[in-house]
Amino acid sequence: MAPFSPTATPPLLRIADLRKSYGQTRVLHGVDLDVARGEVVTIIGPSGSGKTTLLRCVNFLETYDQGSIAIDGREVGYRDGAARKLRSERDLARMRAETGMVFQSFNLFPHLTAAQNIMLGLTKVRRMGSAEARAKALHWLARVGLADKADRLPSELSGGQQQRVGIARAVAMEPKILLLDEITSALDPELVGEVLDVVLSLAADGMTMLVVTHEIGFARDASHRIVFMADGVVNAEGPPAEIFGPDQTSERLRGFLARFSRAHRL
């Protein structure tokens, strides 16, 4: 991926000193992360590092205890102002409509067809008429290569196909930022490629993305910037060349990558 030249405008997503605990267990210890408009940032790291929790905080599927997450300057979970008041349900719903998420276990609505899965958000949240929504849904299904599966139920689709519908469902809402949570981890290896191809083409079109993944190859080829998390904080970050390059200074990261390539050597 060509190096990214951030514009002078403020970042689309700004995470500052984010902290979160589950009961007594500290998961996030003060994470700082910016994502600029049009940037693809990939988070890698060992399990338990807090990557998925971080992602789920961005669209407030998880609450956060301290720090801030702002999209285009607006705090995600809490109202503007000094007092830390939780946003109302309607407000949160509106914030979530600005982000799109694709899940590891697809989470397609099983009682709706592929097209209807995409149309649900368009009709109920974007308030489109059903004809317009269907046209859009078909457009995005074609974009992910599944135009002929529009009226199929998720149970009739393969894992890779379901995940592509999941991507279409998220992208059709035209979110400001796309959150991808280990979207290929639950797929059979031969189906991973078709999903990653879709993601790559979306990135090429300028979609802003925050990706959590185990696919180191994807991280290297598709990201503008890679963030390595360990123990609930950002341990290292930089463009792929730097992260995977020989001058990488972080011991933790080097160890992680070494274990990774050992595991993948057959």
Binding site: N59, L61, E89, R90, A93, R94, R96, A97, E98, T99, G100, M101, F103, S105, N107, L108, F109, P110, H111, L120, G121, K124, V125, L153, S155, R169, A170, M173
Partner: protein, 216 residues
């Protein structure tokens, strides 16, 4: 033997109608209340959840007969004097409500957690999440056990004969008392109950097949 049955039939019809009537009223009202309380059990604030949970556990932990006696003999003491029919139906409704709450809990609880996440992530507010994502899936999981419960309601209704309500069981007892042919009449009565419930269970199996395309 056949003569005894044909003699008895006209005397059993009123009771049969009462049994059907009681069953329908019980199931309809109890389902409406039970679904509301079940949703409150899953999505309500903590105190409400505890009350509903406590209610459901207590009612399901005692025999139906004890509940019926409690309602029948106890209610007048609170100043509410109901006819035996109304008291009996009230008791049956309370029992069925607890069952329906459990059905709802099981149905919604078996929906994968990711569904709520996905519904949230496309920006749906809570009422729309329930209406368009949770409810359709819950309904399909709710129907089979609920339909099984309907046969339980019909069977439980036989106990109201002990409170003097003139249902099918009550009429059977009356005819037996007059004709002294208990075995024939009880067998015939069993046949009638069996017809009602077997038809219901066939219906439930058909429904289960129709909704089975949702892969769990």
């Amino acid at each position: 033997m056949l003569a005894q049955i044909t003699y008895a039939i006209p005397f059993l019809i009123p009771g049969l109608l009462v049994t059907l009537e009681v069953s329908v009223i019980t199931v309809v009202i109890a389902t409406a209340i039970g679904v509301l309380l079940g949703v409150g059990l899953i999505y309500g604030p903590a105190p409400l959840r505890w009350v509903i949970r406590g209610f459901s556990d207590i009612i399901r932990g005692i025999p139906i007969l004890v509940l019926l006696f409690f309602v029948y003999y106890g209610l007048p003491l609170t100043g509410l004097n109901l006819q035996p029919f109304a008291a009996a139906v009230l008791g049956l409704i309370v029992f069925k409500v607890a069952q329906v709450i459990e059905n709802v809990r099981g149905a919604i609880g078996s929906i994968p957690k990711g569904q709520m996440d996905a519904a949230k992530s496309i920006g749906l507010p809570f009422p729309e999440r329930l209406a368009y994502v949770i409810a359709p899936q819950a309904l399909r999981r709710f129907l089979p056990p609920w339909l099984n419960g309907v046969t339980d309601a019909v069977k439980g209704s036989a106990l109201i004969s002990l409170l003097g309500v003139g249902d099918l069981m009550f009429d059977i007892q009356k005819v037996v008392g007059r004709t002294y042919s208990p075995l024939t009449l009880y067998c015939f009565g069993a046949f009638l109950y069996f017809l009602i419930n077997y038809a219901l269970s066939l219906g439930s199996r058909a429904l289960e097949r129709r909704f089975s395309y949702i892969r769990d």
